[in-house]
């Protein structure tokens, strides 16, 4: 990883005759990447320790010559410059961090020979599986044999046979013939997932990746090994043979399973999502994400998805439903149940709605166990957003006890729920029957059944928006697939209910910038893909439920988890 460096920490290195200044200690592969020189590699991964076992990154290295006795530079009379002492043998790039004056050559004949040789050895026992291999299209072995390989095979002997279609765990399938023994997966399991179950057995060309006997690769981070495997040895059992990757459209999104807000890429084709993978963000999730977050897209096409606007259980239209809801609110005694799963834009409009109705606002908190890595204790992705937009002033509780009491006292007659199941949040069936419910949500539940007005809305994969994660980093997600017919964007519905003239995300952001002090300079378009850190100091005293996770340390004392 490249840390932003003070100018004093910069050293000058020479890559293929070009001088560049890079932070001291930068890995040679990363230094070359800065000037768009590709040093092919397999085992090197920026977030894992370096083992140097694939030998693909061989390059030539040298240092400026100095006289051993006087330390005076030795000049080369031919060029008039300081002579370079090239190391006579090739060196691995990944195993070297730059130091001042380092010279490297990545295009010399020796380097070319090395790469061809390494590629040839890697391909000796490699099966001709590309047509049935899920990695094809994003395979480093394919790319680098095209880019740096010899182009033909001299191997006439029989190839080694190794186990295929091995289930390493509930989500990962292993094809040992395709493994190039880079050990990335082993290092990931040991260093990041802290579940050291993988290893090599046997020697030489019989080396085989396997699970420790009696164990499985079952931890909640197992699919990251599939992401980092440079070849098609480790494949996702769920995505296996579903679609070739070159057909898939990539959309940047955010993992909504907890307040970590891991950056993700949603891969879809023609309105169907096929997989979710992590997107690198060195301040949030590095290059990882939890397996549980990769399954969230399954609910998009589930059978209990709401697709019809209902008023008093009869099919209706959006505008009629909005009018019906407005009629319900006219009777007074309205309350709003917002959501920590809504985007910042939706929470802002929920607040506008609550202000217009002079209604109280409650949120439902979801707390689970944090895994100290990329799933935090707060399972709402955007409680911080509700604080920033002023929707709530204090942290939500898990049950709506105040609202229940107000309903029992007969003070509340109508409740708007933005995707929250009121029954799950502690309201009894009798309490639900006493009030008129306006339900905005994606899936059917007890609340949508009890509701007078049901307006189907869109999932996080079908709309644009932003979320504020536990670090108070505002991050945006984009629409990956079109919503099913009948589901309307939450912001449109909320804007209509609140009587706000905002039709798209840009116009909502104009209002947000005008009204929310913390977000004055922002618009949806100018939030960078890696997010923007907001000022957390106004909320420093709140007892947030999260414990420590990757790139996050709680500042306030951690509240006892309920």
């Amino acid at each position: 990883m490249i840390q932003p460096a003070k100018p004093a920490d910069l050293v000058t290195v020479n890559i293929d005759g070009k001088d560049i200044a890079v932070p001291k200690g930068t890995n040679v592969i990363e230094a070359a990447r800065l000037i768009n020189v590709d040093i092919p590699h397999y085992c090197y991964h920026p977030k894992l320790t370096i083992v140097g076992n694939c030998r693909m990154c061989l390059i030539e290295m040298g240092m400026p010559a100095v006289d051993p006795a006087t330390k005076a530079p030795i000049m080369d009379p031919a060029t008039g410059k300081q002579k370079i002492n090239w190391i006579p043998r090739p060196q691995i790039g990944c195993g070297t961090n730059v130091s001042s004056g380092l010279h490297i050559r990545t295009q010399s004949p020796m380097v070319k020979d090395c790469r061809e040789g390494v590629m040839e050895f890697l391909l000796i026992n490699h099966p001709l599986d590309c047509p049935i291999c899920d990695q094809a299209g994003e395979c480093k072995l394919q790319e680098q044999s095209t880019g740096y390989g010899r182009g033909y095979s001299r191997f006439v002997e029989q190839k080694n046979v190794k186990p295929k279609r091995t289930q390493l765990g509930p989500r990962v399938t292993l094809d040992d013939e395709r493994c190039i023994l880079c050990s990335r997966c082993i290092r990931f399991s040991k260093e990041i997932a802290k579940d050291d179950v993988l290893g090599f057995i046997d020697r030489g060309s019989y080396s085989t990746l396997t699970c420790y006997p009696g164990k499985t690769l079952a931890n909640n981070y197992s699919l990251n090994t599939v992401d980092i495997c440079p070849v098609g040895a480790l494949t996702s059992t769920d995505f296996r043979f579903k679609m070739r990757v070159w057909f898939l459209k990539q959309t940047n999104s955010i993992d909504t399973e907890s307040s970590v807000g891991a950056n993700t890429v949603v891969w879809s084709r023609e309105g169907a999502i096929y997989r979710i993978t992590p997107r690198r963000n060195d301040d949030v999730n590095d290059t990882w994400m939890a397996d549980s977050g990769r399954e969230l897209f399954k609910s998009v096409k589930s059978a209990d998805r709401l697709t019809a606007v209902k008023v008093n259980s009869a099919d209706s239209a959006l505008d009629i439903a909005i009018n019906a809801a407005t009629q319900l609110f006219k009777e007074g005694g309205a309350a709003v149940v917002g959501s920590g799963r809504s985007s910042v834009e939706e929470q802002f409009l929920t607040k506008k709605l609550a202000d217009a109705l002079k209604a109280s606002v409650s949120l439902v908190s979801r707390v689970g166990e944090g895994d100290k890595l990329l799933v935090s204790a707060d399972r709402n992705p955007n409680v911080r957003g509700a604080l920033v937009t002023g929707l709530i002033k204090s942290l939500p509780s898990q049950k709506l006890t105040d609202l229940a009491a107000a309903i029992d006292a007969g003070k509340i007659k109508a409740v708007v729920s933005v995707g929250e199941d009121l029954a799950a949040a502690g309201l009894s069936a009798a309490q639900l029957a006493k009030i008129s419910i306006v339900y905005l949500g994606t899936h059917a539940n007890a609340t949508s059944v009890a509701a007078k007005v049901v307006i189907p809305t869109q999932s996080v994969f079908e709309k644009n928006g932003t979320l504020v994660n536990q670090q108070f980093r505002i991050q945006k997600f984009a629409r990956a697939v079109p919503a099913p017919a009948g589901a309307t964007d939450d912001t449109v519905v909320l804007a209509k209910l609140a009587g706000v003239a905002a039709t798209d995300i840009a116009s909502v952001w104009k209002l947000i910038a005008a009204e929310v002090p913390a977000l004055t300079t922002m618009s949806y378009a100018n939030i960078p893909e890696t997010g923007l850190l907001l000022d957390a100091t106004p909320f420093a005293a709140l007892p947030f439920v999260e414990g420590e996770t990757l790139h996050y340390k709680p500042t306030a004392p951690v509240a006892a988890t309920a």
């Binding site: 047509p131 049935i132 094809a136 190839k159 046979v161 295929k164 043979f241 070739r244 070159w246």
Partner: protein, 180 residues
């Protein structure tokens, strides 16, 4: 645009009688009256198809009657008018003789209303499973009828000789190969 007036050439006397033109027309008619037929009683008679002809794309089986396509979807990718649609599937691990191939098409559709008979699918196929063969006439009353599904594609394709038997070699290696 400039207008260029052209002078019309006056007809000669012989031309004005139309007799030479009539005579030459009759000569052509007479010649064909006695020449051998070049038209054909289609569809009872069918033309001989020259080698290399690009007819309807079809899926073929190997000489042992086994499916060759592994649903790599390269033809779907290369097809310029996007006529091909494949749903890949997994060959179950207990399938006899076929388990080692692992992957095969669940569904394979070629929309012949889209196909332009370019032959790129045949060219790109790494398994030599799709061929444009002699079939040239496709008819149907509905759009749906003009989509060839997997079973129809195999029916049209039949069997072609195979010199490689790649997957047999693979199975062979698995049985007797360099297993440790």
């Amino acid at each position: 645009m400039a207008v260029i007036p052209l002078e019309r050439k006056p007809l000669s006397f012989a031309e004005r009688t139309y007799l030479p033109a009539i005579a030459s027309g009759l000569k052509t008619t007479l010649k064909h009256l006695f020449a051998p037929n070049i038209t054909m009683e289609y569809p009872e008679q069918r033309p001989a198809i020259p080698p290399g002809y690009r007819g309807v794309p079809t899926l073929v089986k190997d000489p042992h009657g086994r499916e060759k396509c592994v649903s790599c979807q390269l033809c779907e990718f290369v097809c310029p008018p996007k006529a091909i649609r494949i749903t890949p599937g997994e060959i179950p691990a207990d399938a006899p003789e076929r388990a080692h191939v692992e992957k095969g098409p669940q569904a394979f559709d070629i929309d012949m209303l889209r196909c332009i008979y370019c032959g790129l699918c045949q060219e790109v196929c790494p398994e030599e499973a799709i061929f444009l063969q002699n079939q040239y006439s496709m008819t149907g009353y509905t759009r749906e009828e003009m989509v060839n599904h997997k079973d129809r594609l195999y029916e049209l394709g039949g069997t072609l000789p195979d010199e490689h038997f790649k997957w047999d070699k693979k199975l062979d290696a698995e049985k007797h190969g360099n297993a440790h």
